[in-house]
């Protein structure tokens, strides 16, 4: 029964994805003068060269981190949307470590990432604390903290780390000792993908195999029940958001050290919001996060290639994402079919039981 339920959930996800892709394809056919080229680039572009496929893998890395971060926060039923700001601030602070501190080769990125992670933990932790201590909605205050992180981060970079000799508003060059090495030739896929894989394993183990993870899930399902069961829900709720913030902050730091020569973001990069999409696609399960991240990265790289090779803009991904999220998150989508399935199964089971009883009795 449990397997059938899982199968049904997967079927629903696949259908949601198919519907959103179909809408995108129709849109492309409608707006493009060269729909053939556009579709080919969109659907198969990422596969046509090692470099393009490498682009998919390198985009997966930040998506995995923010996806994991949002998953753990949502698992505790906390609608903290601060992963965006945590990711940004993680990168800002770790660029200070990467520019100003002199450390040995392997130690330097580790320290930089850890400090980036701590910064992220603070930025997601504050809304959590405000909620627990004073009852201020974590949703609203985390949204505000995204903007605070953005302006505060820009202030730090522009006033303390800006390279006056560079033309644009960018930081000094990150020291070579702090950079994460590329690990796949001919691509820019960096060591961060291994850290991402490790984090997935750790988070899966944490959520499904430790008492603390179980407490988090229970609090998320029913915090009143968890409280009566003797769980300190306030601590659980805060810790989930601090952990989420840490992962998001570390993700920002890893993105910076893996792909950039200087800190050069002039806008929020949007990976925090993408993390929400990944978490929903993965149904908050860390084991599915890489799949979801790969899928989203593939879509985006495909769309980028399409916008370069044809007349369709890559923002079409926004349409796919939006439709996909609402349909997957929609409990009512295909609900009737689900009821029918449950009903059929139950009737069959009952008939079987009845038959067995008759045989035994007769």
């Amino acid at each position: 029964m449990k397997n059938r339920k899982l199968a049904f959930e997967s079927l629903r996800s696949v259908l949601a994805i198919a519907i959103s892709l179909a809408i995108a394809l129709v849109t492309i056919l409608l707006v493009s003068d060269m729909p053939g080229t556009a579709l080919k680039a969109f659907l198969f572009g990422p596969l046509d060269s090692m470099r393009h496929f490498g682009n998919v893998l390198e985009m997966m890395i930040p998506l995995i981190f923010t996806g994991l971060a949002v998953s753990i926060m949502f698992s505790a039923a906390q609608f903290n949307l601060g992963a965006e700001g945590a990711f940004f601030m993680g990168a800002v602070v770790s660029s200070f470590v990467a520019v100003q501190w002199t450390l040995p080769v392997v130690i330097h990125p580790i320290v930089s990432i850890l400090i980036g992670g701590l910064t992220g933990a603070v930025f997601c932790g504050i809304p959590a604390l405000l909620k627990v201590k004073w009852g201020a909605s974590e949703l609203v205050s985390s949204l505000m903290f995204n903007y605070i992180a953005f302006f505060f981060g820009l202030y730090l970079i522009n006033y303390f780390l800006r390279d006056p000799n560079a033309g644009a508003m960018v930081s000094f060059k990150l020291l070579a000792s702090a950079k994460l090495p590329y690990i796949i030739p001919k691509t820019r896929v960096h060591f961060g993908i291994i850290i991402a894989a490790l984090t997935i394993v750790v988070m899966y183990f944490f959520v499904y195999r430790t008492r603390w993870g179980y407490k988090t899930l229970l609090t998320g399902l029913n915090s009143q029940f968890a409280k009566y069961a003797g769980i300190k829900t306030a601590v659980v709720v805060i810790s989930a958001q601090v952990i989420g913030g840490f992962i998001a902050g570390a993700g920002g730091s890893i993105e910076l050290l893996g792909l950039y020569r200087r800190f050069s973001w002039q806008q929020l990069p949007g990976y925090g919001w993408s993390g929400v999409i990944v978490a929903i696609l993965a149904r908050r399960n860390p084991a599915y996060v890489p799949l979801a991240a790969f899928f989203l990265a593939y879509l985006r790289i495909g769309a980028d290639l399409m916008s370069r090779q044809s007349d369709v803009q890559n923002e079409i991904v926004a349409i796919i994402q939006g439709v996909m999220i609402v349909l997957i998150a929609a409990a009512g989508f295909l609900e009737k079919a689900q009821y029918r399935m449950v009903f059929r199964d139950a009737t069959r089971d009952l008939t079987n039981v009845g038959n067995t009883a008759r045989e035994v009795g007769g």
Binding site: Y147, I148, F151, A318
Partner: protein, 317 residues
């Protein structure tokens, strides 16, 4: 410090407070009507963005700012209804549906803008129109008050009027009472025959409609063009303003005014030698502080009330 005071105590500053409050106020009232029905609407940001673009496009095509506004309002109402459909019919978590809608709005408006205006950043290639500014006779002759209160965009006055309309609607009309009943206790409302989902659907549609005035104001009053992500978090700030205003129209108005003040301050302080980023942070920090102060005070009040009730229940000796 002297410069600072000189900036605040000018009529231009007073004028600009009202100017920047307008979109926040519309969005806060939009947040209020759905919140009172028990549904939090964090899609205001996206709805404002969509309607800002709608206003620009249709005012260009129809050569009429008013028709542009009308289309924006229709579009906003439809978007609110779409959110309602997903939340109430398909049972999507309303926060997730709204996040999806916001992402869709952010990318989708750029997609459409490029299709029509050929630019991904700004709509300046379109000859879009703005809604008129109104000079109020007599009032504009009064010193100090005149320059502050007169000569605003017509939507600014409508926003101020909306505060009272909303107050009347929510407290005095049957529909308003139904909305409050559903928000406060859906089971009780259901038991006396109020359709909970229907009421919430109407509230979300209204929320979208009101937010669309804010969106139209952004591109047809505040400035005269559409630019990508131009709402810049106003939809989110409005949520905080509504919460801080205790979910009442008058309270939300005062809180919006406070954020408008800080927003205007951040615009003006850029003239002084304060780092621009620091100044731009002010409205958001003020929002968090305000939200915490308000909820903490409310919680204290609630606890004091509980203690008081407890004392009264104690048997007399």
């Amino acid at each position: 410090m002297k410069d600072f005071l000189q900036i605040i105590f000018t009529t231009q500053f007073g004028y600009s407070v009202l100017r920047v409050t307008t979109p926040i106020l519309f969005a806060a009232l939009a947040a209020l009507v759905s919140d009172r029905a028990g549904v939090i609407n964090i899609a205001l940001e996206g709805i404002m963005l969509i309607t800002a673009l709608t206003g620009v496009l249709f005012s260009t095509w129809f050569h009429s700012a008013w028709l542009g506004l009308l289309m924006a309002v229709i579009m906003g109402t439809l978007t609110g209804m779409l959110l309602g459909y997903f939340h109430l019919k398909l049972k999507t978590n309303v926060i997730l549906a709204a996040v999806a809608l916001n992402l869709l709005a952010s990318g989708g408006t750029i997609f459409v803008l490029y299709l029509i205006a050929g630019d991904k950043g700004i709509s300046s290639s379109l000859a879009s129109l703005t809604l008129p500014k109104i000079t109020i006779p007599l009032l504009d002759k009064i010193p100090v008050l005149g320059p502050i209160l007169s000569g605003h965009n017509v939507l600014t006055y409508f926003a101020l009027l909306s505060v009272f309309l909303m107050h009347y609607f929510i407290y005095k009309t049957p529909m308003g009472m139904r909305i409050r009943a559903v928000g406060e206790n859906p089971e009780a409302a259901d038991s006396v025959g109020i359709g909970v989902k229907k009421t919430q659907f109407i509230a979300l549609a209204m929320s979208g409609m009101i937010a669309s005035f804010g969106g139209a104001y952004m591109s047809m009053g505040y400035v005269s063009w559409f630019s990508r992500d131009m709402t810049a978090g106003r939809g989110f700030i409005a949520l905080a303003a509504e919460a801080m205003g205790g979910a009442t129209p008058i309270g939300s108005f005062l809180a919006s005014l406070l954020f408008g003040f800080f927003d205007a301050l951040s615009n003006s302080l850029q003239l002084l030698r304060v780092p621009a980023e620091f100044v731009q942070m002010i409205p958001y920090v003020a929002t968090v502080v305000g939200l915490v102060l308000y909820t903490a005070a409310k919680r204290n009040q609630y606890q004091r009330m509980l203690i008081k009730i407890g004392r009264q229940l104690e048997p007399e000796k």
